[in-house]
Symmetry: C2
């Protein structure tokens, strides 16, 4: 059975890929060059795809920086050294408008063409829950949209959006990833656009990663600026 796996090159999507592999799917990894300033993650996605020997890794261009509205795509400073307790309360400036809706829609197109009915996405509702498009109810609504808007759905072949990490915290994700053979030294998490192999250690994404490794009691193999 073929599955599309959204692969950003970060810790969550790499673990999600490992879960899909463990479940026996034939892997089609999909990475978006969406105008993210932290483009380094695209190379990380390539390393992870190679590590897990996916059947195909496709990098798809969809330049969301043309719309802007996020610190990840527009010239807005990435917040640093925020209090982790504060992070989930609001939708952060690193939220990219409609990003997961767009990414899942494009995955859906590829799934239809491949004849795949399974799409994996590494969204997570616990840590960093300020992103609306990481919630279970969003995923359910998208599944319904997918069933109604595609040939597969009309033909009664339900599209399943798999979210194996949705109820795990970062420490649990890290442990699961390690169990399943993820080499976290290959992943890229940092949001800082000046990141080039050395993470800032201060943006929300770095802080959550560091906290996750600390809670898991595991050394983060990532390189950080000193």
């Amino acid at each position: 059975m073929k599955a599309i796996v959204l692969l950003s090159g970060g810790l969550d999507s790499s673990t999600t890929l490992a879960v899909a592999k463990k479940q026996g799917y034939e892997l089609y990894a999909l990475t978006f060059r969406y105008g993210q300033r932290h483009q380094w993650e695209i190379e990380a996605a390539g390393r992870i795809a190679g590590h897990f020997q996916v059947t195909e890794h496709r990098i798809f261009d969809v330049d969301l920086s043309r719309f802007g509205g996020s610190a990840l795509t527009a010239d807005i400073e990435v917040p640093k050294d925020r209090d982790l307790e504060e992070i989930p309360r609001d939708i952060p400036i690193t939220y990219v408008p409609a990003r997961n809706t767009i990414f899942l829609s494009l995955a859906l197109a590829w799934a239809e063409v491949l004849g795949a009915r399974d799409i994996f996405i590494g969204v997570n509702a616990l840590d960093y829950s300020g992103y609306p498009d990481c919630r279970p109810e969003f995923i359910e609504a998208f599944e319904r949209t997918a069933d109604l808007g595609t040939r597969a759905g009309v033909e009664g072949k339900k599209i399943k959006i798999h979210t194996p990490l949705i109820h795990l915290n970062k420490a649990q994700i890290i442990k699961k990833g390690l169990e399943l053979g993820v080499d976290f030294s290959l992943t890229s998490t940092c949001y800082d656009p000046s990141f080039k192999g050395e993470a800032c250690g201060k943006c929300d994404a770095c802080l959550l990663r560091l906290k996750g490794f600390a809670e898991a009691g595991i050394r983060d193999p990532g390189k950080y600026r000193t």
Copy 2:
């Protein structure tokens, strides 16, 4: 109030733009260069956007031909001279996988950044109802996805997907368009990739257009190959 209007350059989206204008919205027209072989329609969209003096007309690149699976994007012959009675029975080969889901997702991103809550799309459930992503239930499911997956939705600002043509037949759309000042000579309907200002008159899209004008008792100002 700002509205995003999906504008392909065809008859339906042009009439939809006219409806949005009539309703007093500030118009942001969005056209996709999605790898359609009948690229001529993008120029038509520019003419229509100019005719209706939209605030902004944006052409966005999202190359769905990379996924293929449709006669509109892949090297598959566009069907000609089909029986119009047969057309609605199956999903046609000109169906582009997940196209409207993708287009609405991208419109949603722009709407979020602009602070717009209204998106217009010229889908139609009567003529050519073989497209699953033109049905009212698909649109409703997408609206729910949009509310759950965006900052606007979380803040209680409902996203409305307007489908003013959904229950009209082609003749009714043409009459409405004329009432609202659409110059149909500016529009482009033909699916034939060799179309360059002269429609084939034989593909499904041409046949439905010709039938619509005939039923409306109005002369089609489009140019056809003789």
